[in-house]
């Protein structure tokens, strides 16, 4: 069965082939490249499942396949594959979502008569290929390369409708904001390479393992080049640099501003970006090099606080939005905040669990929103909808399943994962790291808001009376829209049972499958979750604490608090927005509503940073460059130009003059010799 690893590179190669095919031959094909993409992603999905099964049976793979800079150099630059439980599971998620998005695009793009479809499917193929290659990267540099490709493809896809004014500007913004973070990431990659001489993620020679031996007081490790810093300080700097890229891609505060604007892209692309590719890449990177982050308590605290704050901050903005995709965009930022919170509080499995469930239900919600948008003839304003549940049964049920998962209502998937995230934050906060309780509190407050805006969105879209003519008589959708929705709708309801930790704790049944899976794999790779929890315990001082009577009480209290708050938020939304003609309650918020509608003026201050500060600084630098640096250079050249212009008059072209000069010089020379030689 291990033979399947030989075909693993094809997981990324297949979508890449579909990219080439769609680009070159897309316009001659019946569905303009969609079929190539569907076949390729289905192939990737099949191979990923085969890899997952193989990894589940205990085989893993960590090989360098190609060395592009090798030989007599301080460090080799390589491409390789790392297939362990984490990457195998992520491959399945990514290829599943990509496959469903391709199918959905048939309904959203082909059936709506869009132009430029080969370009669309080519970008989609490249997007999938680069994300899959990013996931199975075995070293940080390769991961960085594909991370950048993911960013490029999101730029291409967000700006797909480049003839309108909004999308190109949104694409540019997404590109620039994530690139700002990636700049730090690049410096971090170079730092890791020069410090450790390797960027491998896993194994005894990987950089997390090397960092551990350096920090471990009991071992006498080979010294690494820390540029004169304490090793712990220097590693924290490296961790924060790489985290810059993560925060840009995963839309964490303050780099979240690109994500709501990215809604300008086609809706299937939003589903792909939010669920499985672009945004997931950031948090996946933290999980991938968790062996490194687990050594750094300061960085972990930063991750936890950024995550908790982002979760709450984004949720407040989601409350007042009127466009269905805007609500979903802010919910994505908020949910990735939870994942960061889990990573920062030592909940490695919880983070990946929430990443999984979020991938499913967010893809579902976006595809559902896409279905609604088709029905509404591309009107996204929820106040023009209403009453759609009677017209689109499948979409409504699937969307409801996704919404309940997002809101964290028992027993939908979001409940289990969000609960585990908050549980990890709570127990580690109680167990000697009280700072984490602050992040926990922000996460808990966001649960209430999540419940509120999710149910508000569902009620405004599907319930009540139709509030416009299009909502009276919506456009129908076909199987290619309903099929992905149905698959994801069922998954969103049940995927939480992958890892129902509370059931295990209460009944003792071994049902925490994801825990067991992420804990498997050979010790030599050093990527198992118990290795990570050992590291967070030994180096970051995280230990488990409880309230009152022990683990069960803590668990029930935490779960009760989050479920209660979610139900409270949902109930409040239900009370406010039910009925045939809901009123616009958020307008009563007055100034607060204006603040939230303007996203806390984040865009304004970032534009000010760019135009008011950076532009002025670079203007001054330009003046200095033009005036002083260029002035010196120009001065030197004008001196030689001037003297050359004068001196060339010596060259008359008349032989006699030259001869006269030679004779005169000879006479002068003779005179000098005579004077020095004392002839007179």
């Amino acid at each position: 069965m291990a033979g399947v690893f030989a075909y693993a590179p094809a997981i990324a190669a297949l979508p890449f082939v579909s990219f080439v095919v769609a680009l070159l031959a897309g316009k001659y094909m019946p569905k303009k490249g969609a079929l190539a993409g569907i076949i390729a992603t289905a192939g990737s999905l099949g191979l990923s499942i085969a890899v997952l099964v193989t990894v589940f049976l205990g085989e893993t793979y960590n090989e360098t396949l190609y060395t592009f800079v090798g030989g007599d150099v301080p460090f080799e630059l390589t491409f390789g594959l790392l297939l362990d439980p984490l990457s195998a599971a992520m491959l399945v998620i990514v290829s599943l979502i990509a496959f469903l998005v391709h199918v959905f695009s048939l309904g959203y793009m082909n059936d709506e008569g869009e132009t430029g479809l080969p370009r669309y499917y080519a970008s989609l193929g490249l997007f999938t290929a680069s994300m899959l290659a990013f996931v199975f990267s075995d070293n940080l540099l390769m991961a960085f390369m594909f991370f950048e490709l993911v960013g490029l493809c999101s730029y291409l896809l967000i700006g797909f409708w480049f003839r309108r004014a909004g999308p190109p500007s949104a694409a540019k913004k997404a590109f620039l904001v994530t690139r700002f973070g990636d700049y730090f990431f690049l410096v971090g990659v170079v730092g890791v390479l020069t410090t450790f001489g390797t960027a491998q993620f896993a194994g005894e020679n990987g950089f997390p393992a090397l960092a551990e031996t350096v920090l471990n007081p009991e071992t006498t490790a080979d010294a690494v080049n820390t540029f004169g810093f304490e090793p712990a300080t220097w590693f924290a700097i490296l961790g924060l640099l790489v985290l810059g890229g993560v925060m840009g891609k995963s839309a964490q505060f303050p780099f979240h501003t690109w994500l709501p604007d990215a809604m300008e892209g086609p809706t299937p692309v939003s589903a792909l970006i939010h669920a499985a590719t672009m945004v997931a890449a950031g948090v996946f990177l933290v999980a991938r090099m968790y062996g490194f982050y687990a050594l750094l308590p300061t960085v972990l605290a930063v991750i936890a606080f950024v995550g908790g704050f982002t979760a709450l901050f984004a949720a407040t903005m989601g409350v007042v939005k009127n466009e269905i995709k805007q609500v979903l965009a802010y919910s994505t930022i908020s949910q990735y905040g939870y994942i960061m919170l889990a990573l920062g509080t030592g909940g490695y499995v919880a983070a990946f669990f929430h990443l999984t469930t979020h991938a499913v239900f967010k893809a579902l919600l976006f595809l559902g929103a896409g279905s609604v948008i088709i029905a509404m003839h591309h009107n996204e304003n929820m106040w023009d909808m209403g009453g759609l549940k009677d017209h689109m049964r499948v979409t409504y049920l699937a969307f409801l399943s996704g919404s309940l998962a997002l809101a964290g209502i028992f027993p939908f998937s979001g409940f289990w994962s969000k609960d585990e995230v908050l549980y990890e934050a709570l127990v580690h906060g109680l167990g000697g790291s009280p700072l984490l309780l602050g992040a926990y509190a922000m996460g808990l407050a966001a649960v209430f808001l999540t419940g509120f805006y999710t149910i508000r969105m569902v009620l405004l879209t599907f319930h009540g009376e139709a509030r416009s003519d299009t909502a009276e008589d919506p456009h129908g959708v076909r199987w290619n829209v309903k099929f992905p929705l149905a698959v994801l709708g069922i998954l969103a309801a049940v995927i939480g049972f992958l890892n129902p930790l509370p059931i295990k704790k209460l009944t003792g049944l071994e049902v925490d499958f994801l825990h067991q899976f992420l804990d498997s794999g050979p010790e030599a790779l050093l990527t198992s979750s118990h290795h990570y929890s050992g590291l967070t315990h030994d180096y970051a001082g995280y230990s488990v604490g409880t309230i009152g009577g022990g683990e069960i009480v803590t668990l029930l209290a935490g779960a009760g608090a989050s479920l209660g708050l979610a139900l409270l938020g949902a109930g409040l939304a239900f009370a406010l927005y039910r009925g045939a003609e809901p009123t616009r309650h958020t307008e009563k918020l007055g100034g607060l509503q204006t603040l939230l509608m303007h996203n806390y003026y984040q865009d304004e201050y970032q534009v000010w940073l760019a135009e008011g500060l950076t532009l002025r600084l670079s203007g001054a630098a330009d003046t200095f460059d033009q005036g002083v640096i260029d002035g010196v250079v120009n001065g030197v050249s004008s001196v030689s130009l001037f003297s050359g212009d004068r001196l060339r008059r010596l060259q008359t072209g008349i032989v006699t003059n030259y001869a006269a000069l030679i004779v005169l010089s000879l006479l002068v020379l003779l005179g000098v010799f005579a004077a020095l030689g004392g002839w007179f």
Binding site: R648, Q651, T652, G653, I654, V655, T656, A659, A660, V663
Partner: protein
């Protein structure tokens, strides 16, 4: 030994005089043919020096050098006349002050 009666300084003065006549020709004339002649004069001034010293030191090397210089002068004249011919074809004169088209 008729030559021996004449002191060496006389030969040197003669040589210097012939050399100065050559220099004067080069510095003042504009005709390329006169240039060539002046150069010949300067070469022969050097020859006088060589032979006078060879005689005084009783060393034949100087005379051999004189022969070499004559051969060199013959070659130089051949090339010089060639250049002057080309000069004439291009500028319709052998005036050296007119051939200044290669200057800046």
């Amino acid at each position: 030994m008729v030559l021996g009666a004449v002191p060496a300084e006389y030969y040197l003065v003669l040589s210097a005089a012939v050399f100065c006549v050559g220099i004067f020709g080069i510095l003042t004339r504009e005709n390329a043919l006169i240039f060539l002649m002046s150069v010949e004069l300067m070469l022969n001034a050097a020859n006088i020096n060589l032979i006078a010293f060879a005689f005084y030191w009783g060393n034949l090397t100087g005379q051999v050098f004189g022969l070499f210089v004559m051969a060199l002068a013959a070659a130089e004249v051949a090339i010089g006349i060639g250049i002057i011919l080309v000069l004439y074809r291009n500028f319709d004169s052998v005036d050296v002050t007119e051939a200044t088209t290669l200057k800046w």
